[in-house]
Symmetry: C2
Subunit: 390 residues, 2 copies
């Protein structure tokens, strides 16, 4: 990618338990907001990222239904699926569609998930369908259970305490408090986390994302077209998708996320930037240990030292490397297939200077990482203010 794609509009619904609304309702609201933000252009395609609507909501084919609900006649409708990386994957596919030069009109991208139609244990079962059934699903382990194994190993090998790690969840909640669309917009303390119920030793409830419903949408176009629609379009300098070994026990080192490392390397190269030139980071912190690993894979910390950036507060707003500026998975919420598009919407807010009290001063470039499970697929996007060119 050479910076020819830009975001002309963005919108989202508040993450939460939307008992009275369907996945389609949520998606349509987010899309209408994004379209309005872009001046209600005519679009030629709808891309939907969704992890599991057939299982959660007994309704598949959301892309076609959404086109119909929005009264878009004869547009292209595409649904992509990569578990909780579906949102960013939809964004990637839409970028390719713009770059392919098959049409000039803008494209709508929507990530959506309605999880609360099922009970939590069923949601956990469904989440595991995106792991390898042969080695994990049928063993009964859950995502927090897998994270517990990683956390134990990380603490033992690198000398970090659980308190050191969960400072990331504290950071997320602090930022979520200033985010209008966050599911949990209130601060929490390390003590509160340590006193919350044990989910999978040592992981505590307040170190895991809750289940929430949500939808976030974007209007994409070729850069000059985006500029015609919006005075402050946000550039997508890079969009990379890389698959990795699904089971971390089969990786060379379980405390690594090779798909993230490779995707970030490619994305930064495409953007022509070093990681330390990025002003903020939206990370896929399934639990705090994953955030520590991500900081290492991005090259912000040496192997085994990501936890120090966290525990020393160097990832806070106003510090060296602001992380999860609108709350991340823990604070904003993690509606699987929508998370990647929420990250993009939040990057748009930061880069247009509309992030309110969570604004990263002078933010010019942001990076987002959205992944499936614990790294079977990683999507990395680099976003920039209109004035920044790759």
């Amino acid at each position: 990618m050479r910076g020819q794609v830009a975001i002309a509009g963005a919108g989202c619904v508040k993450v939460g338990e939307h008992w009275e609304r369907s996945a389609l309702d949520l998606a349509a609201e987010a899309c209408l907001k994004a379209l309005e933000d872009a001046g209600n252009p005519r679009v030629r395609a709808v891309y939907v990222g969704n992890a599991a609507s057939e299982l959660l909501n007994e309704q598949g084919n959301l892309a076609s239904l959404l086109a119909d609900a929005l009264a878009l006649e004869s547009v292209k409708a595409v649904e992509v699926r990569a578990g909780d990386a579906s949102g960013a994957l939809a964004l990637h596919q839409a970028c390719l569609d713009v770059l392919a030069g098959v049409g000039r009109e803008p494209i709508l991208v929507c990530g959506v998930e309605k999880i609360t139609d099922v009970l939590a244990p069923e949601a956990e079962r469904i989440q595991m369908l995106f792991e390898d059934a042969r080695s994990t699903f049928h063993s009964g382990v859950t995502i927090p259970g897998l994270c517990a194994l990683l956390t134990r190993l990380y603490m033992e090998r690198y000398g970090a305490s659980y308190e050191d790690l969960v400072a990331l969840a504290v950071n997320d909640h602090k930022n979520a408090a200033g985010c209008p669309h966050a599911q949990f917009p209130f601060p929490i303390t390390v003590e509160a986390i340590l006193n919350s119920p044990l989910v999978a030793d040592p992981i505590r409830l307040l170190d895991t994302p809750g289940f929430g419903d949500g939808a976030a949408a974007l209007v994409l176009a070729e850069a000059d077209e985006a500029r015609r629609l919006n005075d402050s379009p946000v550039r997508i300098l890079a969009s990379e998708v890389v698959a990795g070994r699904m089971n971390f026990c089969e990786r060379e080192d379980p405390l690594t996320i090779p798909s993230l490392r490779e995707a970030a390397k490619r994305a930064l190269a495409a953007a022509g930037l070093g990681v330390k030139e990025v002003d903020f980071f939206e990370l896929h912190n399934t639990t705090s240990v994953v955030g520590a690993l991500a900081l290492e894979e991005l090259g912000l910390a040496e192997r085994g030292e990501g936890w120090k950036l966290i525990s020393e507060g160097r990832i806070a707003l106003g510090a060296d490397w602001p992380v999860n500026t609108m709350g991340g998975l823990k604070g904003r919420g993690h509606p699987w297939g929508a998370t990647g598009t929420y990250q993009a919407v939040e990057a748009v807010l930061q880069l247009r200077g509309e992030a309110g009290k969570n604004q990263v001063n002078g933010a010019e470039v942001g990076l987002a990482h959205n992944m499936c499970g614990l790294g079977s697929v990683s999507c990395v996007h680099v976003f920039a203010r209109w004035e920044v060119k790759a």
Copy 2:
């Protein structure tokens, strides 16, 4: 699209009841065949089309698993989903990836479905998840049930008999008899159809596709690159995806498939061809009536006269407009997410002159239509011999 994408390799497994093999096994076999056909190039991405593996096989995330199974390190992995149009949709997205110019190495595309892990009533339930739950799923109607309504209306309005229509199923089985990968490689008669069990009046069992497992794969590349890999690459002159009103009762006329009409119009325009310049057609004949409607939407017959082309045998091999040259949904089989890629593999065989006794003499251009349900999404591809340029 301006003809810059071509197919450098193709392969598939025989459609059937593969009790002893997983979706991943089938996909891997098809991919290995396609890769071998292209000279085993290094690929940079894997696209998978699959309708419902989480529900059918308790295993999602097939694209990432497939990359791993094929020992493809750090490639892009993308899964797309549009019910039984998933295969052609994966092909479309892979075409965009080639055209976007983000990489030179070829791309692997695989459509796969393993249906027989569940019993037929559950398969029928899952199939309906791609229709609108608000109006059809919860009413208990099935796809053959919807086709029965269309068939009754078609017969009444246009004066066709059921015998006239099911001549398409007879055509399909006749062609399937010469197809090495067909699920039902034997001829049937109109009498056999009329004597087979009633599924949904007037639809008979032998007028509906069976449930079968299968996988078909392609290696795509930019045209010149494809030519370096294979002496006889097949060009993709056009790839169009269009969404339409899901419920046919909400269409202006229920006896239409507007998504097909529009996709075919765009595809033929992109290819610079009239429909009568196409040498053969792979159609998505869920039941025979849908084949009649498709002939009308393509412009091969006037509205209400598609059945005449069928009953007069003008769609046979060697006749005016050969349809479903390798058996179509009825004869080759219809493994949902794989069907679109089977159509493409069959087009490759025809255009390379490798279709054996089913060869369409002098075939230069073929068109394939793959759709979700009864037209909520239509994908139309136009394929051509290397020597033909758009």
